[in-house]
């Protein structure tokens, strides 16, 4: 057992160097002690832009998932979504720290002090789920794509990105399984749950094309067919149809990866950034 029976004592106790838990301890760098030099042959600027994009996907999506807390249908699902959001926040911190180390900015500067047009996340990440079916449908699509991508990035030339991706693979597989099982339950459930699950997929589908758009900084690209194969297995078990039809287009050739976002994004950033911007010198 720890020396502290009351955890609140520990929060206010002076750690070495005058740090207190309640005000941050200084052990804040998620990549502390890791060799973050950019290996020869790797384009540092492109690596930073790519890590930023993948970090933004996780940060914004994690925020959207956190919004569900206290609103989930059951306590068990609440803890599931909280844990999934936490995994993604952890991935976001490491990826933003990797990008920030190259760009000369901290993860906090990148998360809290960039404007909307500087965020590089795909628009699927910022979508506001209108019901539980959209929540699990979006999680299935996002985690299937990201799992395939992280599988490829586990052998990336940059050892830090490769380690972050390898670390995240198990987590994403678990997220995908959680989502798949709910999609099957709802799709193969009642007439109403089936109809709402199908409607959720139909509503989300236009946002999926952006996941597979070629991007100049991409260090690995996921073949759409490989992700659709996974989705088809789940949808077949659920008795659901894979939607087709029009996809959300680019605006003057620009997408989320270029900083063009949907209306939802401004509301996310207002909530995410307002405290940090109101107290720019605070540490936590």
């Amino acid at each position: 057992m720890t020396e502290h029976d009351n955890p609140y004592d520990l929060l206010a106790e002076d750690q070495d160097g005058g740090h207190r838990w309640a005000f941050g301890t200084g052990f804040t760098d998620p990549l502390a002690g890791i060799d973050t030099s950019v290996p020869p042959g790797v384009d540092g600027a492109a690596l930073a832009r790519y890590c930023l994009a993948l970090g933004d996907d996780a940060l914004i999506y994690s925020h959207r998932l956190q919004e569900w807390l206290t609103r989930m249908p059951e306590l068990e699902e609440e803890t599931a979504i909280a844990n999934i959001a936490l995994d993604l926040l952890g991935q976001a911190r490491m990826l933003l720290a990797r990008a920030g180390g190259i760009l000369g900015q901290s993860e906090d500067q990148l998360a809290f002090f960039r404007s909307e047009s500087e965020f590089r996340n795909v628009r699927l990440a910022e979508h506001a789920d209108r019901d539980f079916a959209e929540l699990v449908g979006r999680l299935l699509i996002f985690s299937s794509w990201r799992l395939a991508l992280f599988g490829l990035l586990s052998s990336a030339q940059d050892p830090v990105l490769a380690a972050i991706a390898a670390k995240g693979t198990n987590e994403l597989a678990y997220h995908r399984d959680y989502a798949a099982q709910w999609v099957i339950r709802l799709g193969d459930g009642t007439e109403l749950s089936h109809a709402r699950m199908q409607a959720a997929l139909d509503a989300l589908w236009p946002l999926t094309a952006e996941l597979f758009l070629p991007d100049g900084d991409e260090l690995a690209s996921v073949d759409r067919g490989s992700v659709d194969t996974v989705l088809d297995i789940v949808l077949a078990a659920a008795g659901l149809a894979r939607p087709g039809g029009a996809t959300l287009g680019a605006v003057s050739g620009r997408t989320g990866r270029d900083g063009v976002h949907t209306e939802a994004m401004g509301y996310i950033l207002a909530e995410l950034q307002s405290v940090a911007r109101a107290h720019p010198d605070a540490t936590w």
Binding site: Q15, E76, T79, N83, I84, A166, K167, Y174, Q181, I184
Partner: protein, 192 residues
């Protein structure tokens, strides 16, 4: 250098020379530093030490003081900074003053790093220890069954007849179950 796990052995050879310059403490200092760091309890599973849990990768006493390397269980593990501060405090109490706590991401932690002693302590605390982690190469097959194939045994009565009630429990690393034989709910560390 004392490694937390045999898999780390490959990285240890180069650091061994530093033992001679270990603040004049020699092998005793190394052993004392390792014991202090390894005995740090995990904040979320306090019945286990970080060595039991397999997240302590190495302890080196050298010219630059004590360097402790730990690895996160999950990317978002919120306990990392608390573990780092606990390790630091225990080393200060053991008489060391220059302490660096480093993070290591690769190879990634899995539940296979939990030691046999750690598994025993989990079971004694009423938490089912994990089965071997899935070995993965290439694409990860999606699990469709809403009934998990590998139910853990009840840590209270030993029955294999258990049911998963939630895939996530109070912490990311555990799931929630109920024993059909004795009726008790219990947590299990997920094999990951």
């Amino acid at each position: 250098m004392v490694t937390g796990f045999p898999a780390d052995a490959g990285a240890s050879a180069a650091a061994d020379e530093s033992l001679d310059t270990s603040e004049g403490l020699g092998a005793d200092g190394q052993d004392a530093a390792y014991a202090a760091a390894a005995g740090t309890p995990d904040p979320e599973l306090p019945m286990l030490t970080i060595a039991d849990l397999g997240i302590l990768r190495s302890v080196d006493v050298g010219a630059e003081g004590v360097v402790v390397t730990i690895t996160p269980t999950y990317s978002g593990c919120p306990a990392m900074r608390e573990i780092g501060a606990d390790v630091r405090r225990r080393l200060v109490a053991a008489g060391f003053d220059r302490i660096t706590v480093k993070t290591q991401l690769a190879p990634p932690w899995s539940t296979d790093w939990i030691t046999d002693g750690g598994r025993r302590k989990l079971a004694e605390a009423g938490i089912a220890p994990p089965s071997p982690a899935p070995r993965r190469s290439g694409p990860v097959p999606v699990k469709l069954s809403t009934v998990p194939a590998d139910s853990p045994r009840c840590p209270r009565c030993g029955s294999a007849s258990t049911r998963e009630t939630a895939r996530f429990s109070a912490t990311a690393c555990k799931s929630l179950h109920r024993c059909e034989a004795c009726g008790e709910p219990f947590e299990a560390v997920k094999a990951l």
